[in-house]
Assembly symmetry: C2
Homo-oligomer: 350 residues x 2
């Protein structure tokens, strides 16, 4: 059924030899015309292109890949299983990467789920690899993924660059966004800002929080920084603790949007309005952030920028055999409706 069938007495699947024969040209000329080479007369090229359209001739991609050694395919690897919300980040990143690869005439091969053992040798031959969201990826994993370093790779938000000198890195640095967020709160008139952390150790933001707060002209009080976890419930509990303090913060900055949702919930349960009585800022710009009430102001990683940087680095390695590079991308503040100036009463408390 899908074989070299006959339609109207003509072989449907044509190779370049048969096609060239139809045009009374040699395959060399046809190939050059199709590849847009300069050494073909314009009208020959024109004719070849038209006839290809007319006869429905398309070159066999596999043969081209064999002879050129290129596939124009880039594979996206997500070595870890994420929950739904961080998936949102992955999905948006995948979309951005896909757009970027298409813009360069590459295709993106997606692998959302876990890698299966033993598929290494059966895996598709790709020109490059994007490994995303895998701070914990091991050298062994990396070797398996890249066929012992033979396939150019770029790691987004991956492990320490120094551990994988053969790969390019795009590091996501959220500090600019956090800085913006704190400055925004300060400009609104806040002085005491609470922080709800996600409990992960060694987060740059957490570590540099005192400094960042001070920089924005905010008060740094260790009692205002609590570690929660990842769920909305945990965010709610942490916010409740903060808001019931004798001298509560007038704004809360949560390490993730989900924690911020919990904080909003907690404030509302305590009878506080947002942003009237308390301001809340999240982090991640999760899709739902626009749909909660009030829509959440949040720190957003610039996903298109990260995708652009990653694909650029990868293509430089693929096409120009460039050495691996390291780039850092920032984040910025997305202002919606969960922040406002503190009330006079709240300010009076301290």
């Amino acid at each position: 059924m899908w074989e070299r069938a006959e339609i109207f007495g003509k072989s449907v699947i044509m190779n370049i030899v048969e096609f060239a024969k139809c045009l009374n040209l040699s395959i060399g000329t046809v190939s050059r015309a199709l590849n847009d080479r300069p050494d073909v007369s314009p009208k020959t090229r024109q004719m070849v292109l038209e006839k290809a359209q007319e006869l429905g001739f398309a070159r066999n991609a596999n043969a081209r890949h064999l002879v050129t050694g290129r596939t124009f395919l880039i594979r996206l690897e997500c070595p870890y299983n994420a929950d739904v919300l961080s998936d949102r980040y992955l999905i948006e990143m995948a979309r951005a990467l896909e757009e970027e690869t298409h813009a360069h005439n590459y295709n993106l091969l997606l692998r959302l789920g876990r890698r299966r053992e033993g598929m290494e040798t059966e895996m598709y031959s790709v020109d490059g690899l994007v490994v995303i969201g895998a701070p914990e990826v091991s050298p062994d994993d990396f070797n398996a993924l890249t066929r012992r370093g033979r396939t150019p790779a770029v790691l987004i938000d991956g492990p320490e660059p120094s551990d994988f000198p053969n790969a390019s890195h795009v590091c996501v640095d959220t500090q600019p966004g956090v800085r913006e967020a704190l400055q925004y709160l300060a400009d609104l008139g806040h002085r005491r800002v609470g922080y709800i952390g996600s409990g992960f150790p060694g987060q740059h933001v957490r570590v540099r929080l005192p400094e960042l707060m001070a920089e924005a002209g905010l008060i740094w009080d260790p009692a205002l920084a609590v570690e929660a976890g990842v769920t909305r419930q945990e965010g709610s509990e942490a916010a409740t603790r903060l808001l019931q303090m004798a001298n509560p913060p007038t704004a809360i900055f949560a390490r993730t949007d989900v924690l911020a949702f919990g904080a909003i919930e907690a404030a509302q349960q305590l009878g506080l309005s947002i942003p009237g009585d308390v301001s809340v800022i999240g982090h991640d710009n999760v899709e739902i952030a626009t749909l909660v009430n009030p829509p959440l102001t949040t720190v957003a990683i610039d996903i298109p920028q990260v995708a652009k940087a990653a694909i650029r680095a990868l293509l430089e390695m693929i096409e120009q055999k460039a050495a691996p590079s390291i780039e850092s991308c920032g984040a910025h503040l997305v202002i919606r409706k969960s922040c406002g100036p503190p009330t006079a009463a709240a300010l009076a408390v301290r």
Copy 2:
């Protein structure tokens, strides 16, 4: 840098000839061992496999594809641009399809954005195509996609099967889920159930609503069926109209979750509690359905089932040259917290 480099004095990229030479075997034997053919002695196979691992030999996929005419690649096409919420459906479908293809040792090539003109001849050679969510796909589009029908294709929730007899079809029939939903409401004690439609003409569910209602033992009153649109706001307005009737429904079934969100909002603004005073059921099982308050009971399309059916149909065409098939997949009810028994007062009204 990524060339046939020398590491430890040995060529890193090895072809099957060089590999066979290392083993003192012929390439034929090596090929058969690697392909798991029966006509190789077990210990030869064993040796070949071990040595391949040890020397890091992997066959050139492109050469295999050329000679076998197969790539084990399936491309997913989404010909239309969807909004964020229906994207959610696409994304979940993509995940399910990806799992399914991997289970069969195929890879899924994703194309989330719009197709670009002129990429036809440059497109990757794939074994099959899944076209999703394109009821409006035209024969021309279809021909371009399938290289004039040469590439096996399956359409998920596509146009009338009769219009594309060369493709397999997986139709999504939500009626079983709707039936379940209505029965669930009836079992809770409801009699008067309102319906908020999305305004699309010719929806099977809408057309058969009287019948489905009657089947569940519910009252069919045309006044209780209103057409809204697609936004939350429209859902809210429609629900307000329903709930302000002299003899209002005790439950509302909305054609989409977004409309249901609007209905919940409307009820709450009217001072009605959910599910205390009014029950609400949605349709689509959008991600956010679990996050609203109360979590929304909704009709869910069985995405894994659809994906399974699609891949099965496609692989039958690819591997067994089977004729195109048509299959219908159902939906089911996901019970969360937006439904309860009607209040005695509400029942007394009628």
